[in-house]
């Protein structure tokens, strides 16, 4: 145990854990908020100064754990998580809820620990802590709806953990190793049950199609700050795990293409801007999953770069919409509009996030997503390339046009909210600077990427094609809007796959549960009846008045003994051969 503690102390996770402990004990609100910001920055410094290699080893229950595996891939994710953790804590500076603050630190720290884990057991522990800590960001909303959403979210997250540990056990039985390295590549034919379980376990947190509804259900149900924090860690942690364990897996190209496309229409119909961004997030994750499936050096660089960029631009968009919700009390597109008048800085930051997700040149998405697009084009998967292009168009429409237009421009709602609080503005400013920094200085950003694949984002032909992808949707959007043919969002519930879960699968499960309950009741009654009859018979036979209790004459007993001996003698004479 001492080994494990000293190994843990070598990881950049301890500042988060210590910070959470301090926050839980310190009553001063300002000190608590400061600790929440400082702890991730200490973690960031530890990641920057950590040397490459696998260390912080410990042996528990004859299993060799490696709590620290530092290479280019894990370093990039850990850097992004620490910086984003600090940014999110700054955004939540106004929060006075100790529970939320502790949850933010535990959640971000365990996500950092997960991407540094060199073995499956360490990964599993952090995997579960992220699930348990993050649900408190939903429950902190403190409404009945949020409690129910949190329970559903927890079901998915714990389910993912159960599949993961089941898969780990089976893989360990097959290979005798718990090291977390490449698990599978190429075709999925012939995968063992253990590999499938790990794959689906990762897939739940990565929001694979049909396993995604937790994301669009939970993220808009969290607190203002909680949604920002949730958008950063869980899904990117899953992307890291897929990149580490399943790069080059063909099946991921199909899954990723489906993920990239199916949310586009749902995002457009949705009235809640936080839910719209949740769908946009799933689409962006789909692009990353395609890149993991392609698996070339350029594709993996693209995945790492796009995941990192996405942490900041998606976080920035969630922060901007969160600031609107914080000041106006609503994130419904139909109730907003014209907020740029009194929230100019939030508007500006939102536009930076929009430009980044739309891959406008000089913004982060342009230098990151294009690597995946080009790697897919260079592979033999033409259809996947067209899917990613369409997803890029959709991201532009959903996140880059709809969100800023409906919240900050568009028809005036008459609302005149105050500008976001200073902490929120500072956090959005940092995220905007990172988005711009990545886009303006891609060479510096590319030095952090995991492979040696070279890539030039700023070529004239690339900017021309990207310009065409950006300008035409804007023209189409303006024309269709003027013609009144573009979808107008209205408050309501947009049905997704969760309709199947809530309206079909849940009633079926309830019916089965009721049927089993009735069967068990009947079985219990039948058992009780049988037991009564047996007791009655035994009482009749052996009770005070039963035949067994009666006095028998000695002669009768001798006669029975003689009969038994005769039978035994006869049997012994039978030749069993």
């Amino acid at each position: 145990m001492f080994d494990a503690i000293s190994a843990f102390a070598m990881t950049p996770v301890w500042p988060f854990l210590l910070g959470a402990l301090v926050v839980a004990l310190v009553p001063n609100t300002l000190a608590r908020a400061a600790v929440c910001v400082v702890a991730p920055l200490v973690g960031l410094w530890l990641v920057i100064t950590a040397v490459d290699g696998s260390y912080a080893n410990a042996t528990i229950a004859q299993l060799d754990l490696t709590m620290m595996r530092m290479d280019a891939l894990s370093r990039l994710f850990a850097l992004a998580f620490c910086l984003a953790g600090g940014m999110a804590a700054l955004y939540a500076w106004h929060v006075r809820d100790t529970g939320q603050q502790v949850a933010i630190l535990l959640y971000s720290g365990s996500a950092v620990g997960a991407v540094l884990a060199g073995d499956f057991i360490t990964l599993f522990v952090y995997w579960e802590v992220t699930a348990l800590a993050s649900v408190f960001l939903i429950w902190a909303r403190a409404t009945e709806g949020a409690f129910n959403t949190g329970m559903r979210y927890l079901g998915y997250q714990i389910g993912s953990g159960v599949l993961l540990i089941g898969g780990i056990a089976l893989v360990y039985r097959e290979t005798g190793s718990i090291a977390f390295n490449q698990i599978a590549t190429g075709s999925s034919d012939g995968w063992s049950a253990g590999v499938w379980l790990v794959f689906v376990g990762f897939g739940i947190k990565a929001a694979f199609p049909f396993l995604h509804s937790w994301l669009k259900d939970a993220y808009p149900a969290a607190t203002v700050s909680g949604t920002v924090v949730l958008s950063i860690f869980t899904t990117k942690m899953a992307i890291y795990c897929l990149a580490r364990g399943f790069s080059g897996t063909d099946l991921l190209i199909l899954i990723g293409a489906a993920m990239a496309l199916f949310p586009l229409i749902l995002a457009e119909i949705e009235d809640d801007l936080r839910r719209t961004l949740s769908y946009a997030l799933i689409s962006q994750l789909g692009i990353m999953v395609v890149g993991i499936g392609i698996g070339s050096d350029l594709a993996l660089n693209g995945v790492a770069a796009h995941a990192t960029a996405s942490i900041f631009y998606q976080g920035l968009l969630f922060m901007a919409v969160g600031a609107v919700l914080y000041r106006t009390g609503t994130a419904q597109a139909s109730a907003l509009g014209g907020l740029h008048r009194t929230m100019p800085l939030t508007t500006l930051f939102c536009l930076v996030g929009s430009a980044s997700i739309a891959s406008v040149p000089l913004f982060s998405g342009f230098v990151s997503k294009s690597m995946i697009v080009d790697a897919t084009a260079q592979s033999a998967h033409f259809w996947a390339w067209t899917a990613i292009l369409l997803a890029s168009v959709g991201a532009f429409i959903n996140a880059a046009i709809k969100v800023p237009y409906r919240a900050f421009f568009g028809p005036d709602s008459g609302k005149r909210p105050a500008e976001a609080p200073t902490g929120m503005l500072m956090a959005m400013g940092i995220a905007a600077l990172v988005c711009l920094g990545m886009g303006v200085l891609p060479g510096l950003f590319y030095t952090l990427l995991p492979t040696d694949a070279e890539y030039k984002a700023f070529t004239i032909s690339h900017m021309i094609s990207q310009g065409q992808i950006l300008v035409l949707p804007l023209i189409v959007w303006i024309l269709l809007n003027r013609a009144g043919a573009w979808v107008v969002t209205k408050p309501g519930t947009v049905l997704d796959f969760d309709w199947v879960l809530r309206s079909v699968i849940t009633p079926v499960l309830m019916f089965v549960a009721r049927f089993v309950s009735v069967c068990m009741e009947e079985a219990r009654d039948a058992g009780r009846w049988t037991l009564g009859k047996v007791t009655q018979s035994l009482t009749y036979l052996y009770g005070p008045d039963g035949p067994a209790a009666r006095l028998q004459p000695t002669g009768s007993m001798v006669l029975w003994l003689a009969i038994i001996l005769a039978v035994a003698l006869s049997l012994s004479l039978i030749d069993v051969r």
């Binding site: 949020a146 457009e268 119909i269 084009a377 067209t386 310009g467 023209i475 303006i478 043919a485």
Partner: protein, 116 residues
């Protein structure tokens, strides 16, 4: 708490601030022509040989422009059509669901621009 008067359209709003030009219909029309001009310019540049890409589709003239326009149109029209099927009332999943709840006040800092 002084609330600004509610206006019904962009044109009647007395706009202030840096972004106010965006509210004017004249600017929007101008922007449309400007965007169309940029699109034509980008198309012309493509025909000068500055063609990007690695697939056979890149050889198709104006591929990106056509693909983006058709894609955007499809997403917009399909969304409008599917909204009838997919959009339901707020209380579709019952009253104990976040869809039918207001965001709780303890998590908000609602404040108007004139408030101190």
């Amino acid at each position: 708490m002084a609330k600004a008067p509610k206006t019904k359209s962009n044109e009647t709003q007395s706009s202030t601030g840096f972004w106010s030009f965006l509210d004017q219909v004249r600017f929007q029309t101008l922007a449309l022509y400007g965007l169309a001009g940029i699109a034509v310019l980008l198309l012309l540049l493509e025909f000068t040989g500055l063609r990007y890409g690695y697939t056979a589709a890149d050889e198709i003239p104006a591929f990106y422009i056509l693909y983006a326009a058709i894609g955007a149109g499809l997403i917009g029209l399909a969304s409008a059509a599917l909204r009838r099927v997919l959009l339901n009332s707020r209380s579709y999943y019952g009253d104990r669901c976040v869809h039918s709840e207001k965001h709780p006040e303890h998590d908000l800092g609602v404040k108007e621009s004139g408030d101190v």
